[in-house]
Amino acid sequence: MTQMHHFFYIVYIMPARDYLGEFEHIVLLTVLRLDDQAYGVTVRREIEARTRREVSIGAIYATLDRLEAKGYVQSRVGGPTAERGGRSKRFFRVTAQGVSAIKHTHRALRSLTEGLALLKTRS
């Protein structure tokens, strides 16, 4: 199978709903990495620390809400704390469907980058 045929095969076997956008992918991996401590503040800080990219709380919540609607994450509300002005935290965790979406995306990316000379020389 040629490289181009391989790409179309991956797109064909990957259902459209399992495709992750770039920021969705970053947020999902961050939630997975933070395990049971994933809420707005920790997700934002982890993304900034690892990608050196400044993100807003609004961007994170807009993405997490979209991921929750797709069934890739689940959220639960914690108890209110004084350091948050008496407001509750909303914790997120990745579902089995979310893990599957990450795997699909990684497989597609690996397939697309396989054999690219440019990446080989850089690494």
């Binding site: 809420y39 707005g40 503040v41 934002r44 807003s56 709380i57 609004g58 961007a59 919540y61 807009a62 809400d65 979209r66 609607a69 509300v77 209110p80 704390t81 350091e83 948050r84 002005g85 407001r87 509750s88 935290k89 909303r90």
Partner: protein, 219 residues
Amino acid sequence: MTRELPHPHPPRLAAWLVALFTSAAQAESILGDLHEEFFDIVSKAGIASARRWYWRQSAETIAHLASAGFRVAPWALAGVLLLGFLLRRFDFQLPEWIIVAILRAQRPYSNLHYGFYVWLVTYGIPIVGVIQTVLIGCIVAAFAKGREIVATTTLSIVSPFAFLLHFLLVGGQWSNSIFIFPWRFLIIQVENLVGLVIGGVLVREFRSVVARRFSRTSP
């Protein structure tokens, strides 16, 4: 004797604006996160930096939440905006009809209330116009649950362009009033646009109060 420093608090106006663009449940977690990070920055870099950070985060958060409001349900929002356009289009002359009806019924110019007549003719139409626009804002916001401010702000921004297009296509009928009183006409337009957003804010605040009461009474 030492004076205790005032307890720092996040900018209330910024927090209120963020709350306007979110649902009640979303506001709880987003404002809590902003609050938590604000005090972290206060302890590290001081209150001025923390306040700047809070304002910048609030502006970016509002922009993201507003654009998400369009992406999540574009057709529902378009339907609500169409409803707003139709209400504004058909109720355009309503304030004038109401004032004329009051004048016909009360005949203030025919008795000693001449001052009231002058006041009614001068300010009556703009006042009724603003009340009518606030009501249209309330109706649009009532249908755009969770996106009240996005819907009414969009309607208020797009309305002048729709009005201009309508004027260019079927114009003429309002040309005299526009060219004779251009500033008054512009002021009325601005008042009307602000009225739409005020209607959205009223409905959003009402829903927030109801949600807070409900969360307090539920176990």
